[in-house]
Symmetry: C2
Subunit: 467 residues, 2 copies
């Protein structure tokens, strides 16, 4: 079936899109834009500026940044023209697919916004001003196995500050999280921790080299419970004494202050622990003086999977539904190092738009106006003079900012009204023969199921006042 | 050099992006968004609703839709996993690269928004309401040879109505063009023609089968002049009698009415010609009664390269600079036919954002506020009480809608002011020791080079009033 004629194949196949990708209908697009616009507005209120990077990056930029597994999940783009030009004998080898792919492909689709951002900062170092506060809302692509809630194309909504060590950045990023979810009417719990405290914990149990395994195990507390975490630690080679030393952390309860005090007595004597506690206390203190609307929880078991984090880390969960992490972030100290610009600290957050969409849908929190496009709709009777009048009135309504549509075809009124209803139009304007000669409009308010006759000269003002 | 270790390669190479692609710095992104937002707002005023489709389409959807040359310009994506699994002996053949690509790749990046839209309409026929007015602003990718003004990734901004034959759609789309360019302050000439008139012309000269060659030749009138067009027609096998019959069209001057009259006497006896003239007259008549701000020119030599157009066609040029076509569109009768849904007429337009950007830059028409992000900037002196006060005032300013930044680090004042200047900040707020104890703020207006002392409680109102 491979050596087919495309044209024949096309004619006989129902059109479809690649698995793991999505079309968005107008209602979904409007709801998604409500989320993106909210995030964008708040980012801009905090002085973050939008940049964009290309969908395609050189594979040399992407490879090796997401681990071996990540390399396999990159979508690679076949070279244009003669893609066999660099092929050497022996390259066609099913057991060295990675090598062959690198011969056939120089470019790949971006896997996240963080690595392209690091590349951007290094490449444009002369053109940007540090500290650089940038936000970026663009799609990324991953060749993950598609499953419920996991897509091969999805948007990330990132904000980062690079070139500043100040903890004020952490404070403001948490404020941004609070503001976004307040605007979206989602009650959230913002979890905060510090990777330095995890370092101290690994040191205490004599497993500084196993910090990854320790954090990965602790990160699963929510999912596998304290016993599960202990099991994982054991499997990672942590001895019983070490596990005992970590037990208070894993099961730590109480207020933020109580937990901080417990952590101080357990790890405050280790320099990394003292530093981590100091940073956490500063951030929590500043936030408490600002009076956020969201709950802020110090969670000593929060680890965040990504290994590049070195300081404060954040993770956000919705309180009224079980949809996992909807936002995360943290500080990293050397993201641009791999592109030849070491010593630049940064801190950032990323909103998970798809999961936020699910939360808003589950809790029915989308504002009713979201997706209501056309506000004023003119029925078309096919009479030329009436149509011209409708076009002119529509033009005036649009100049007044009213989203207006004139039905293009003189089909049955019933069909036109069904169309208007399906779109959720607020006002329907009717100019038939009578109205035309009287200089009036019959105006139906579809929400209130009311009808009135207004002068054509008053139409725009009447509609505007009613919206 | 191909069998390299990626990590080594990375460390020694200055980062770059694939040729023909672009990074957008904050200033450029803001200016681009000014264009996109203007177009989006106008589309929505006319009842168009946004959809989105995935960047990747199945190659079976894309192949064969853009001609043989277009197929070669598609970016193809290497299959995930074992991309050699369907390889057969003989597939590796440099003279059958197209076949080999189809074995290695099932997906490609979209080449335009029109074919994905046709696919979308057919795939979602049960979920959408006809006539369907959709707009779509998304990037497309073409493996064209990069050159000045031509990129491998660029945005298209399309609006289409499908499922309606009414010429009111054409009228409204021209109104949209007029409104967008009025808002952008670009003076334009909107050229209108009808493909049915071109059909009539081909018929008149007995070359109905050569309609493509005839339209392609006429389309070049602007570039190669009347003699060049005649040369091309001759090369396409049109005889001297035929060329003589076309000569009045190619050099036609005068008002729209004069040109229509000349065309009627030359081609009005051919049914396609009569129909084309009737449609053109209707559209021009309706537009003239609506009183557009832009010039609307009937141009009988306008052809538009794309062969799927069947009725009205549009093309827009900026009047005050030579940057070619900045918007185009037209009616097509059977776009969804190839996906198994024949007989659905549509009409659409597409704004060329990159060229519009060039026009706005050349004529210096971007509003000065475009790209001004932060409006209020707090200097940081490192004093904890002052910093907390700044954070609180910043928070209040943001709640009032003022885009506000607190400099995160207590570096030298001069450096902070340089940063604020580079960003084009309007107001700088200073709270040092004196201000802290007096409960005041020193407020610098960077535009007017003025300075005043205001009470902290009055800061937000003072700034808001000044913006």
């Amino acid at each position: 079936m491979k050596r087919r004629e495309y044209s024949i194949y096309i004619m006989t196949t129902k059109p479809s899109i690649p698995k793991g990708t999505r079309d968005f209908l107008p209602e979904e697009t409007a709801r998604r834009n409500y989320i993106f616009d909210t995030i964008r507005e708040v980012y801009e209120l905090y002085g973050f500026r939008s940049i964009e990077t290309p969908a395609m990056e050189n594979l040399s930029t992407l490879m090796g940044k997401y681990g071996e597994e990540g390399d396999k999940l990159l979508f690679k783009i076949l070279n244009s023209g003669n893609f066999l030009s660099d092929l050497q004998p022996g390259d066609i080898n099913p057991s060295h697919l990675g090598h062959l792919a690198s011969v056939l492909c120089e470019k790949g689709l971006r896997y996240d916004l963080t690595v392209p951002f690091a590349r951007f900062v290094v490449q444009h170092r002369e053109e940007i001003k540090l500290p650089f506060r940038r936000y970026q809302i663009q799609p990324v692509w991953r060749a993950d196995r598609p499953q419920k809630g996991r897509y091969r194309e999805f948007y990330q909504c990132d904000a980062d500050v690079v070139g500043s060590d100040s903890l004020l950045n952490e404070v403001e990023l948490v404020e941004i999280i609070d503001e976004v979810f307040s605007r979206l009417n989602i009650n959230v719990d913002i979890n905060i921790n510090n990777r330095k405290l995890l370092t101290a914990m690994a040191e205490r149990i004599g497993a500084a080299d196993k910090i990854t395994e320790v954090t990965v195990a602790i990160d699963k507390l929510d999912k596998i419970g304290p016993e599960g975490v202990e099991e994982e630690l054991r499997a990672a080679g942590i001895d019983e004494e070490g596990i005992a030393a970590l037990r208070p952390v894993i099961g730590l309860q109480g207020s933020n202050d109580e937990k901080l005090a417990a952590m101080r007595s357990a790890f405050g004597d280790i320099p990394a622990g003292a530093k981590g506690l100091e940073e956490t206390e500063f951030v929590l203190g500043a936030l408490s003086s600002l009076g956020l609307r969201s709950r802020v929880t110090y969670n000593p078991a929060l680890a965040r999977g990504l290994n590049y984090y070195t300081g404060c880390i954040f993770e956000v969960k919705a309180l009224d539904t079980q949809i996992g992490s909807i936002t995360g972030g943290g500080r990293y100290d050397n993201l641009t190092g791999i592109f030849g610009m070491p010593g630049l600290s940064g801190v950032g957050i990323s909103f998970g738009a798809d999961r936020i969409y699910d939360v808003l849908t589950t809790l029915d929190l989308f504002p009713p106006e979201t997706g209501r496009t056309t506000q004023l709709f003119f029925v078309n009777f096919g009479d030329e003079a009436a149509t011209t009048r409708c076009l002119k009135l529509a033009s005036a309504a649009r100049k007044a900012g009213i989203r207006t549509e004139v039905f293009p075809d003189a089909v049955k009124m019933k069909k036109q009204m069904a169309y208007a209803s399906a779109l959720g139009v607020r006002y329907v304007a009717i100019i038939g023969g009578d109205e035309l000669s009287a200089g009036t409009v019959t105006l139906k308010d579809m929400d209130r199921r009311e009808q009135q006759t207004v002068g054509q000269a008053d139409l725009v003002e009447t509609v505007r006042a009613g919206l």
